[in-house]
Symmetry: C2
Subunit: 807 residues, 2 copies
């Protein structure tokens, strides 16, 4: 790394000139050749820098840094470049609308709007608010949304704004909601407000919900083939409904097929299996061969076409995932090229120096310390030249999330302690790491598990928790406590808590401890913690490789799963609103006596012998009386079993058309659920293929699973960098760099290796899976030489072609 | 094709000498070098052939043909080579046990044994037989099985026999069944015969059930990962059962969680969703937040782990499919090499002449005509030399199923008719093939569909079929009849019936016609045909490409689906026997009054107003009283909905341990169903990938979808072949060859092209999908130089290494 030193000698280096200028100060669409300094600020004449010119030059560079950072941000977020800000006014609006505070505001506004339905009539009893209160709150939230939209208008410009479909939809919905909220405020009562079902749009549109938007897009992309197969399904259903009507309507006891409508409804419900043996029974009791009709129907519809649906969605999903990955990858590449053009200077047209890189990062990652910026530069700089080539720069997204740490000379946290302490800790460390210790703990957990099982089995159902703390509870908890303490001291807190499994162990033990306290001090409301005790048994699953693998994959999938769950909740919300508007308060005990499912809604006092027993059907609890009840009801409909009881109950109280709501909901959840299944399938199959393809040693130690970058820093280099920062980048916080120098000084080594780590993402896995194809994509991309993903609008951009300027 | 002529000049060709001799006349295991004629028949001295020697030589060649045919057969059936017959006695046993008559006998014996359970107590009422009748029948069938086993013993030899696991299991089961049948015959009454559940083994072992065996193997291969995940599932279930017991057992109204056992059973049933909202209701009515417990449980178990199960099985399935294909492919290749060695002569060590090839086919495909044998040879012979090289010979399996037809000069069947007739038929042909005609028919079908729907909707439920034939029925049927006639005359019967869709049209129309006759003559029992009318609507699905695709794939999948269905039935059978032995006659109306599901079994007369209504719970129909009822009950358990009603009913009449039966059945069907789903998924995804990969024009005309081989025959060649057959292969039927010569004579062309067609199989698709990998496999295979799939036993075989003898 001898040559690595000269690029930081910023003092004697002639200041770099902006080679490609920022586009902020140019009217959009003007073609700007290489070296054409058509900026509206002072620096228009290239020449030897003087003090003022240098200042302006610095300003101009700052502009470029900022725009490059914006490009990188757009690449990361998959924002299309035609929304790139093109004027200072747009820039300020862009900056205003692109920070976490603004995002948080967006999120909160969206969430507030959705949460309002808790308090609007029909409200959750304990959260009911007066009409004027919730209407005012709604108006406030809507004003916030309007304000956000205005900022977006400023930033995008009117032209782009009205072309941006999502924003336009949002604006329309906003208008409707405004009018309705004002009407509510004037009339002082809620009218039929089905449009509230559109509220999730505000939440979905906010920056943090990008994953939900992607899910929705994926759902819509899977729809065409899905609908085709759905039609096939419905078609067979109607054919069988006609057949069933012809065959069974002559049986007066068979009310499932007595009209064609009933016949269709029965077969629709049969498709979900919810009424299965019952729907067959009247016909079956008359003629045993009638079961053939039902077996054929279920075989075709349930076992064949429904699986076909899954196959089609899975296939589409699979294809879409790859296309998405490709487009995202090329979009990022294009963003990197745009940013690169803004960072190179005339003197060095094919490389980015540390100074420029540092400038970029100051905008792109404001929280990053100077040391980390320097180390990131070192990690990217593979060639050993003082500048980053475009090839180096392509990797910028990979090194962004790294957490840098000096590689320790030893491996244990207690290496610097006095000898006696060292020996003790070393001993603990060895014990903790030994197989014997691990298996001893597993045995304890297993014994504990059996104990809990036996103990619970012997409990009478009329026991109470308010008794003494059982001694076995204390014994096991002590063992777990000692284990945690040993592990923390043996491995060091940092190493201990960096493993997910240890974190799990720790939190379960803490919970158990809290449970013990609750039990000891008889704090009633915390008793539920006591029953979480069996969760400790989950630790047993660390033993087998396949389970570790499954659970690891589960954790990797978690963000995606959460976003899918959120997507589902958004669908639930819309359906819950519609359900509440139409079916609130139609279900109550003993309500549906005219329907075939009256029993399920019955609530009567029965006298058996001399005791009076309440005979409850309980189904009146599955209602749409407020949004929480609606959610539970909708979950029950999702699980499908006995959903027709709710449907028939509501139908008997309203009209036949209510069935449309339930059937639509079934089909929608079927789509979403199929996609969730396809997603889980895809993710696991992908993961397993990946393991097979890369012959990944499945039981590699935990800490080698992430992505690791290395950067070696010599002492001379460190000092030079420090100097550079002191002289040319005054004002930035360089304490982290100073610390690094001090640490190197103290350790006495001439160089220090830093390791940057981050956890592996799906994108990393995909990169490795599609390795060969990625090369092809890149070649194709650089052949066509046009950023594939940009809209035609983007061609107006002034940055010259990157490959041309390099050659 | 000038050079093609000389290989058929059999008259002047010196008779070929067997180069590698058949192994039949050698003691098993003796090493036999190249040219070592250690046969036990007369031909031991190589020399100029005289008449006797030539005769013996021919015998020897016949032996070789037969053995080569056996090798090819073994390759096709995936029989391991260590079961290859090695002595004349073994050969005769082998030949006895390998023909369709014997296979059919095996199948019938197996089926008879299974069908016996229809007549054994508890029997289907109408099929009940006396004990001595069915026991005698059983003994007879078992004697047949024993006889088959003896033949197998003769053919395999004792040593191989006892090593063959499946056969040994079969022998043991046979013994037990024998003993039991005799006991039944002596005691004149059936005892508890759970071993009858093993009867399907006899059916599964027979030759025609190879697909079922493969399925079973695949199921067992998928088991280990399946069981791992299943344990995870059960583990969570137990944890949640403990939690549920702790949380809800204090509620006296909640009988789902009042003991730990009930808690576990409730959660097991909840896993199948069969008791879903009900199990939650008592807790939910007490505290609304208790729904969280159930939502979390279902999310983890049903929506995550169950899908994980599918993912794991799908992945295993995927892998196994490829491995299976590879091993089958290499096994076939090895079989081909063995056969090739037996067919080459000393003079031509690297090629098989027509004479030898013809001899092989006479054994391998006895039904094939001489013309087809000759054409098959031509199709394989790509090099133009008079002999087939090993490379040519490798393709033998691909050309085996071909149906040969001369390429007609014209394309229509009516080309040879007089001019007027030709013009008429040409006109019909053009009309039938026009888009307008097709769409007109679609419109008629659609109108018919709407008509049926409207008509059915307006029918009262008390209509009767014994009325006049409705006029619209006649009109539509006339249109369909005319369409069928036009198509048959326009396309020609052969072309018409070779398309599956046309066959479907035809059969639906014929059915509708039969229905019309039934209606007109008021033949009550055939009315069911009338209700099949709506099936005609299926024709509408020809319009859209995706449906054609789906339905085509469905037809391709059909054999596999059928074998999976049979596999399921075999599981059903075993469970039905066990169920009948333990639960026969325990279920009857009003039987289960002590259980929680008493309502479902109730059958009482209720008086509502002044009418007496029978209030039926019907579930007493779901019993194990005979094997047919058991099958229906098991199907209901497979569909899962409300299965716990049957379980609880039986449990209340017997003991708690009965639940084990039902839970085991659920898990077994879950395995089989998951595999069926995985199979459908895999097949469709494979098909779609195939279409994408090969850029298959998805709407290519029907007749180009098969596999086509071409063979051009000149007149001279045809005559020479005829001569060859006349002189050297006396006794074979050469009329087909003579016909060919006559046809060529008459047509006046100097050469004729024959096309061999067959439909595409999954194997062809796989060949194309794994094209590149197959080359690698072959290379690897020829590098290791040992037939990969042979057991060590096979190395004793005398055929010298194929590659060595070629070079």
């Amino acid at each position: 790394m001898e040559t690595g030193g000269d690029h930081v000698s910023g003092a004697e280096q002639t200041p770099d000139w902006p080679f490609h200028s920022s586009s902020f100060y140019q009217p959009c669409g003007c073609a700007d050749g290489v070296g054409n300094y058509d900026n509206s600020n002072n620096v228009t004449i290239p020449g030897p820098p003087d003090s003022i010119a240098q200042n302006s030059l610095r300003q101009s560079w700052e502009m470029n840094y900022q725009e490059a950072a914006i490009y990188l941000q757009e690449g990361e977020n998959n924002d299309k470049f035609y929304t790139h800000p093109r004027s200072p006014r747009a820039l300020s609006a862009y900056l205003f609308a692109h920070n976490h505070l603004f995002y948080l505001m967006e999120l909160l506004t969206g969430a507030l709007l959705m949460l309002l339905s808790l308090s609007e009539a029909p409200a959750v009893p304990s959260l009911r608010l007066d009409v004027y209160v919730h209407a005012t709150l709604e108006l406030l939230a809507l004003v916030m949304v309007a304000f956000e939209l205005c900022m977006k208008l400023r930033w995008l410009g009117f032209h782009t704004f009205i072309r941006h479909k999502r924003t336009m939809v949002k604006a329309c919905v906003l208008l409707i909601q405004f009018v309705e909220a004002i009407v509510v405020l004037i009339r002082q009562t809620s009218h039929l407000r089905v449009t509230r079902a559109l509220r999730p749009i505000f939440l979905v549109d906010c920056r943090y919900c990008g994953a939900v938007r992607r899910n929705l897009r994926q759902i819509f992309q899977s729809l065409p083939p899905f609908i085709d197969i759905l039609l096939l399904l419905l078609f067979f259903m109607i054919i069988f409904a006609i057949l069933g009507f012809c065959l069974f309507s002559t049986n007066p006891a068979d009310h499932y097929f007595n009209t064609l409508e009933n016949s269709i409804v029965s077969l629709f419900v049969l498709l979900t299996t919810a009424n299965f043996p019952d729907v067959m029974m009247p016909a079956y009791s008359r003629n045993r061969w009638s079961c053939v009709f039902f077996i054929v129907y279920l075989s075709i519809e349930l076992y064949f076409i429904m699986n076909l649906l899954l196959a089609v969605v899975f296939d589409t999903f699979n294809g879409v995932e790859k296309v998405k990955f490709k487009s995202l990858l090329l979009h990022k590449r294009s963003a990197i090229e745009h940013a690169f053009q803004l960072l190179v200077s005339r003197q060095r047209p094919d490389g980015v120096s540390l100074k420029q890189f540092d400038g970029l990062l100051r905008f792109y990652r404001p929280r990053m310390s100077a040391r980390d910026r320097f180390l990131t530069f070192k990690a990217l700089n593979q060639s050993g030249t003082p500048v980053l080539s475009l090839q180096d720069f392509y990797k910028i997204y990979e090194v962004m999330g790294l957490k840098w740490k000096a590689r320790r000379s030893g491996e244990h946290w207690f290496d610097d302690l006095p000898h006696t302490a060292f020996l003790i800790f070393k001993g603990i460390n060895l014990v903790v790491k030994s197989k014997a210790f691990q298996y001893a703990i597993y045995i304890v957990v297993a014994v504990n598990g059996v104990w809990i099982l036996v103990e619970t089995n012997m409990l009478k159902s009329d026991f109470s928790w308010s008794q003494q703390v059982p001694w076995n509870y204390i014994v096991f908890l002590t063992i777990y406590g000692v284990e945690v303490l040993l592990k923390i001291t043996g491995l060091g807190p940092v190493a201990y808590f960096s493993s997910g499994w240890n974190l799990f162990d720790f939190s379960v033990t803490v919970f158990a401890f809290l449970g013990l306290i609750a039990l000891a001090f008889q704090m009633e409301p915390f008793y539920f913690i006591v029953v979480l005790r069996p969760l400790q048994l989950l630790r047993l699953f660390k033993i087998k490789q396949r389970y570790r693998n499954v659970l690891d994959t589960m954790f990797e999938l978690f963000p995606r799963m959460a976003s899918l769950g959120l997507t589902l909740i958004i669908f639930y919300y819309s359906f819950a609103i519609v359900g509440m508007e139409f079916f609130a308060d139609v279900i109550y005990p003993n309500c549906c006596n005219t329907s075939t499912v009256a029993d399920a809604y019955r609530q009567i006092n029965k006298t058996i012998g001399n005791r009076t027993v309440l005979d409850e059907g309980y189904y009146y609890l599955n209602n749409f009386n407020n949004i929480l009840s609606s959610f539970v009801t909708l979950f029950e409909l999702t699980v499908v079993n006995n959903w027709y009881i709710t449907m028939e109950g509501v139908t008997s109280q309203t009209s036949h058309w209510s069935r449309l709501y339930f059937m639509t909901f079934y089909i929608v959840t079927m789509v979403v659920m199929t996609i969730i299944v396809a997603f889980i399938l895809d993710a696991f199959v992908f993961r397993m293929n990946y393991s097979r393809k890369n012959r990944e040693p499945l039981d590699d130690p935990e800490d080698e699973k992430g992505i690791v970058f290395e950067a070696e820093v010599t002492r001379a280099e460190a000092l030079q960098t420090l100097e550079l920062y002191k002289h040319t980048l005054a004002g930035t916080n360089i304490s982290s760099l100073q610390e690094m120098c001090v640490a190197m000084e103290r350790s006495g080594h001439s160089s220090l290796v830093f390791l940057g780590r981050r956890s592996r993402t799906k994108s990393d896995l995909s990169m490795k899976m599609y390795e060969e194809e990625i090369q092809e994509w890149y070649e194709e991309y650089s052949r066509t030489n046009l950023p594939q993903l940009d809209s035609p609008l983007d061609r107006d951009l002034d940055s010259p072609d990157p490959t041309q300027s390099i050659n």
